[in-house]
């Protein structure tokens, strides 16, 4: 099957890209390893449609063989989870993670949830959990008030609604506060307060899902995919849109997706917006030292901080302690260690776990060159 465009990722960015290309008469295939469209923010919504675009969702794609002239990566982001004592206990869940699980049917009515970590997502999560009937006694944001205020005052400059958040303005919100230890039935925060709760919803911001871009050889810039004003990466024919190019929320994702799909220059100052967000919610130094020697850092292989703290980098930690060698392929401990120790990302080796894409790449590997028509 010959496509003009393959889009990887069915979140706001990928959907906008597919739609824009379709409107120009292109033949488009969109892949996502999720069973449904919508990405993170619209997960589980059943009204999403992409008429005139072929969809490959979930695992059904293992048999697929495809070719395309252009590839748009719209792989989004995942939460940054930092190790602290007790973070592996089952009541400690990602902030966006808990929200996703509620969308999947987790009963949250009447449960007590402490939301903590960093970023605008905490506000969205707290608001959504409350709407679903949870009690949220505390929302702890590690960034200091001064930074939040500066950012808030500058908001009028941005066309974005990411701080609908401001409208979410929320009881129990505290700046300059972070979790230091989770224990059975609760959590202790950095001001010494101990709060009983059923769940600790904890995320320290978002990190781009850059693995596929790295694998394809796209130039990266501080964990993000480097792109020009047309969303083109350093690899010919490969574009990147949405959270992969800078954490900036749904409007940025859609604007970039539309531009890349239609081969147009992106409008709006999204790069500056993403940097302002990153600066505002930059993680404080204290968070590097939350883990004790006993704290598990690699959750797959149960590697403790004391075992690797003095090592020279990820490679040594992997070879000598199996850190990052487990099922998640360092998706969780990798970004945490990058931030805690300044250890750089390693080269990504195939196979990536989403089968759909692995299959796409296998075409390329077996023949020794890209599928016909693909300008990789």
């Amino acid at each position: 099957m010959q496509y003009d465009l393959i889009v990887v990722g069915g979140g706001p960015a990928g959907m906008a890209a597919a739609r824009a290309a379709r409107d120009q008469g292109e033949r488009v295939l969109l892949l996502d390893d999720n069973p449904g469209l919508g990405g993170q923010i619209w997960r589980g919504r059943e009204d999403l449609r992409l008429e005139g675009v072929e969809l490959g969702l979930g695992h059904t794609l293992t048999e697929w063989r495809g070719e395309a002239k252009r590839l748009i990566l719209a792989c989004g982001a995942r939460e940054l989870l930092l190790p602290f004592p007790g973070w592996t206990m089952p009541h400690v869940v990602g902030a966006g993670g808990l929200q996703a699980l509620v969308k999947q049917g987790l009963a949250i009515q009447g449960k007590r949830v402490v939301v903590c970590g960093s970023g605008p997502l905490l506000l969205a999560v707290a608001a959504n959990l409350r709407k679903a009937g949870a009690e949220v006694p505390r929302v702890a944001e590690q960034a200091p008030w001064e930074k939040l205020l500066t950012f808030g005052l500058g908001l009028w400059r941005w066309p974005s609604k990411i701080f609908e958040a401001v409208g979410y303005a929320t009881s129990g919100y505290r700046a300059g506060l972070w979790p230091v230890e989770a224990w059975e039935g609760g959590v202790t925060l950095s001001d010494g307060s101990k709060i009983n709760c059923d769940y600790v919803a904890c995320g320290f911001g978002l990190v781009a899902n850059g693995e596929l871009a790295r694998l394809l050889g796209c130039r990266m810039n501080g964990g993000l995919v480097a792109v020009d004003d047309w969303q083109r990466t350093s690899v010919e024919g490969v574009y990147a849109v949405g959270e992969m190019t800078g954490i900036g929320g749904v409007e940025k994702a859609e604007a970039e997706g539309r531009a890349a799909g239609a081969r147009q220059r992106v409008t709006g100052n999204w790069g500056a917006f993403a940097s302002a967000l990153a600066k505002t919610f930059a993680l404080r130094e204290e968070l590097r030292a939350l883990a004790t020697a006993e704290t598990i850092v690699c959750r797959c292989e149960d590697v403790r901080w004391g075992r690797i703290a003095t090592m020279g980098g990820k490679r040594q930690a992997r070879l000598e302690a199996r850190c990052g060698m487990g099922a998640c392929q360092a998706r969780i401990c990798g970004p945490a260690l990058e931030w805690m120790c300044g250890w750089g990302p390693e080269n990504v080796r195939p196979p990536l776990f989403p089968l759909s894409v692995r299959e796409f790449l296998r075409d390329r590997d077996e023949a020794g060159h890209p599928p016909t028509g693909h300008s990789l």
């Binding site: 999720n34 089952p90 009541h91 969780i332």
Partner: protein, 78 residues
Amino acid sequence: MKIRVNGQEVEVQAGMSVAAVVMNLGLAARRSVTGEPRGPVCGMGVCFECRLWVDGEGPLRSCQMPVREGMEVVTDAV
């Protein structure tokens, strides 16, 4: 619809994920390599903490798996 979790019959709604069902029962999804109980963390298929066994197959990520009538779920078996 009904599924079985560790042999016990559970009433669930279509559209729920197996991860949500298991959490609602207060069960951990798996045991870590050193024996700690673990449950879902990311809810989006990335962390692999929600793995368990379904109809004799596994370990599978339960957050990516919608419930199906009659499915047999086994936790803690990793």
